[in-house]
């Protein structure tokens, strides 16, 4: 009987998790970029780097809109880095992010700040 219970609970947990994952795995990353003085940075290039076992590999890039915000879509990596740069304003630090599963939609807590990186 306890095998049936254990199996049932496992099936329920795994099923719920998979359902939740299926509803939130569009691979969308949203964020915004600011200049060193805190003003929004329009037209900055944001690069998406996937963290592999040994290194970071650049996968895609997008530009921020007039409001300094950017959206990356279809990015499956669960461990990745973002870096923003704009000529004349420098680059942000390459910051690492983690997701609980591949393609999890993510909204950044903090902006990428230009002028912090090399």
């Amino acid at each position: 009987m306890r095998y049936a219970w254990a199996a049932g609970i496992l099936v329920l947990l795994v099923g719920s998790c998979n359902l939740w994952v299926a509803l939130h795995d569009d691979g969308i990353v949203r964020g915004w970029v600011v200049q060193a003085d805190g003003r929004l940075a329009a037209g900055a290039t944001v690069s998406f780097w996937e963290k592999t076992l040994t290194t970071l590999e650049r996968r895609s890039a997008t530009e921020t809109g007039p409001d300094g915000r950017f959206v990356l879509t279809g990015q499956a990596a669960h461990h990745f880095a973002l870096q923003a740069e704009k000529s004349g304003l420098g680059a942000s630090q390459r910051r690492l992010y983690r997701r609980y599963f591949r393609g999890q939609n993510l909204v950044l807590d903090e902006p990428l700040r230009l002028g912090e990186g090399r």
Binding site: Y3, A6, T54, H78, R98, Y100
Partner: protein, 270 residues
């Protein structure tokens, strides 16, 4: 037992339990924090817990493939142990010429370490064309002497009159085992399931030798491969260890009462 004595005994048992559980706690803590295990002074309580090392293990390596292979091999091992060991143990409960010699032979075989017989085992597996196969991975563990004796101890406790009655009713020997002996030996069955599962699950040396195809690697092999991939993997490595350990622990917790009964049956008489 007097209360003061009982408290002392319980205190000692708790202390021993804590000592035995500390390494496991440390592995679990490191898998959730990724902190340097050589840090001094060590932090007793985990800080900044997160599950991302488990996510890394899941995605960076073919964990599901390793898990599937381990499960397939373990199922073969457990099933064949139940069948082969029950048959062998039943034979040893019967009276026949040379029985003591066979028991002595089996006991003496237990003294030979597996490492000493690994080359003949490899050659036999090769001749059977079972290298690089799940069956080949399971072959050396398909019957284990310890489990034969666990079954024998349990079968010896079944009253002879019951077996004689079954024979008079016309039951063939294999049905006596299936319908009389095994239902009365659930502890031995549970012990065999757990022991054979754990031996198969943790087996490293034999899969390392017998498998060359990466598609057939089991979890312990995957763990060693994982170690060779990266250097700074403390958290992920320990997360992998926990993920390897969980099925065995779960099985033990589900069957611990019968497992202990099975191991202690035959320890006392009367």
């Amino acid at each position: 037992m007097r209360p003061s004595r009982a408290a002392a005994v319980h205190g000692a048992l708790i202390a021993v339990s804590v000592v035995m559980l500390v390494p496991f706690y440390w592995v679990l803590k490191t898998s959730l924090t990724g902190e340097n295990i050589f840090q001094y002074p060590p932090a007793l309580l985990p800080r900044a817990i997160h599950p991302f090392y488990y996510v890394d293990v899941w995605y960076y390596i073919p964990f599901v493939r390793y898990l599937t292979n381990s499960v397939i091999v373990s199922v073969i091992v457990v099933a064949s142990n139940l069948v082969c060991n029950a048959l062998a143990a039943y034979a040893l409960t019967l009276r026949f010429r040379g029985k003591r010699a066979i028991i002595g032979l089996l006991l003496s075989c237990m003294l030979i370490p597996f490492q000493a017989t690994i080359i003949p085992a490899y050659l036999i597996t090769k001749e059977l064309r079972l290298l690089n196969s799940h069956l080949g991975l399971a072959l050396p563990l398909c019957s284990t002497i310890v489990c034969i004796f666990v079954f024998k101890a349990s079968f010896d406790a079944v009253p002879r009159s019951l077996i004689d009655a079954a024979r008079i009713d016309g039951l063939p020997e294999w049905r006596i085992i299936r319908h009389v002996m095994l239902p009365l030996s659930t502890s031995a069955v549970a012990t065999t399931v757990i022991l054979s599962f754990i031996w198969s699950w943790n087996s490293f040396l034999w899969p390392l030798i017998v498998v060359r195809n990466p598609e057939l690697q089991t979890l312990p092999l995957g763990l060693s491969t994982f170690l060779s991939y990266m250097e700074n993997t403390t958290g992920a490595l320990y997360a992998f260890c926990i993920m390897v350990l969980v099925p065995g622990i779960a099985l033990f917790l589900l069957e611990q009462r019968r497992f202990i009964e099975g191991l202690t049956s035959g320890a006392t008489k009367g």
